[in-house]
Amino acid sequence: MIGIIDYGAGNLFSLQRALRHLGRPTRLVGSELDWSGLRGVILPGVGSFAAAMSGLRQKKLEKPLQDWLGAGRPFLGICLGLQLLFSGSAESPQETGLDFFAGRCSLFEQARVPQLGWNRVSFTGPHFLWQGIADHSFFYYANSYHAPLNGGPPVLGRSTHGRPFPAALAAGEICAVQFHPEKSAEPGLRLLANWSERCRP
């Protein structure tokens, strides 16, 4: 069973639908009590950095999430869900993130924001997330902020919007993508299928 963290904002339906299409059962995780029996956890993200963090705290999800990350169990952060892994973001300067990775997210400069649309991802090397996906494939983005360019976890791929930025990151089983795989047609579905394989018993 794959858990989708529900902190009260955002469209979780697209993600549930995509995983259902792939034959992978999901369960919404909206409290500290819903964590038993999970093999993998997805942190989706829509809305602002501060609103998401306060939603996670209100629903007492921050601590179990940090424990999950600390244990190195299969995890996928999507869009804001990638940014929340860092210590902070220029979007909400007063707010502390999950602080699993060091560094702060910043606003795109010299490029139109939000970045809305399909952008190519150049892989930095082979990875289980990219299996069966062609290098330079297009993925769908909807973001104004991006992960730090240096000093963060290993970068699996980059896109360019004004400047190159991390499209996907991973440290062991902890993966995160800045684009929306659930909205990225075939390559996106394949990525979700690849990640889901890591959640098998």
Binding site: A9, G10, F13, L116, G117, W118, Y141, A142
Partner: protein, 250 residues
């Protein structure tokens, strides 16, 4: 930079896709889920569904339509027409929309834009502007183009951006459904007025006109209806034309 998006638009009335000329003389163009599924398979970058009747009784029909369409496509889905409150917007998102398009309701209640952006994020809020040319510039119209709001379309776009809209869907009322080309002057004026992603709509009839909207008008995306619904052109055909012309296309 993101690729230029080709976005089929399904105008829906009573559960069917319709298409008219300048929002009138509506003709049936098919079943929404079937058309959306076909466009997804052909490589549509996004799908827009606009409920053009948007009466209360049709709202449930629309949500049913959205659910059916969302089930089979894995690209972004934008839904608009008669969304007047955060509850309406939430219902559309829960039915499977990724973004909502606000037009008349935003003109009547501009704060709806900021409430929606705060709750669901700017990337979720598309400001749709139906613009009609007058002696003193373009006016933003409401109620499917039947009422002149009295607002200048460009000023309204800037206000919408400041309130938190993440994207502008700009329709030329004068060109809609005619196939005579986009209003390039309007597009270029809007491009200069706001630095948000801009979707060109109203008037597409030939592949060359799409290229004009992108190159001369500065559009980030083009909305297509008549051109596709009656199978005059297919998405792969349009994409390969634009690619050959050097446009970055998915």
């Amino acid at each position: 930079m993101p690729a230029v998006r080709l976005i089929p638009c399904l105008d829906v009335k009573a559960g069917r896709v319709v298409k008219g000329v300048s929002f009138r003389e509506l003709r049936d163009a098919g079943n929404p889920a079937e058309l959306a599924g076909r466009y997804y398979e052909q490589g549509a970058d996004e799908i827009v569904i606009l409920d053009i009747a948007a009466t209360l009784e049709e709202r449930c029909t629309l949500l049913k339509t959205v659910r059916a369409v969302a089930e089979s496509i894995f690209v972004p889905l934008t839904v608009g027409g008669g969304l007047r409150s955060l509850e309406d917007i939430r219902a559309a998102l829960q039915a499977g929309a990724d973004k909502v398009s606000l037009c008349s309701s935003a003109l009547a209640d501009p704060e709806l834009i900021s409430r929606a952006a705060r709750q669901f994020g700017s990337q979720c809020v598309v400001l749709a502007i139906d613009a009609r040319k007058t002696a003193s510039g373009w006016r933003a119209c409401s109620h499917a183009g039947t009422l002149d709001s009295g607002r200048d379309a460009l000023a309204w776009a800037r206000e919408g951006r400041d309130l938190g809209a993440g994207e502008i869907l700009l329709t030329s009322m004068d060109r809609d459904g005619r196939g005579t080309g986009y209003d390039l002057e309007l597009l270029a004026a809007m491009r200069a007025a706001v630095d948000l992603p801009l979707i060109a709509s109203g008037g597409a009839g030939t592949p060359e006109q799409l290229l004009d909207a992108i190159e001369t008008g500065g559009a980030d995306a083009v909305l297509l209806a008549s051109m596709l619904h009656y199978q005059r052109y297919s998405i792969p055909q349009l994409k390969s034309f634009l690619k050959e012309k050097g446009v970055q296309i998915r």
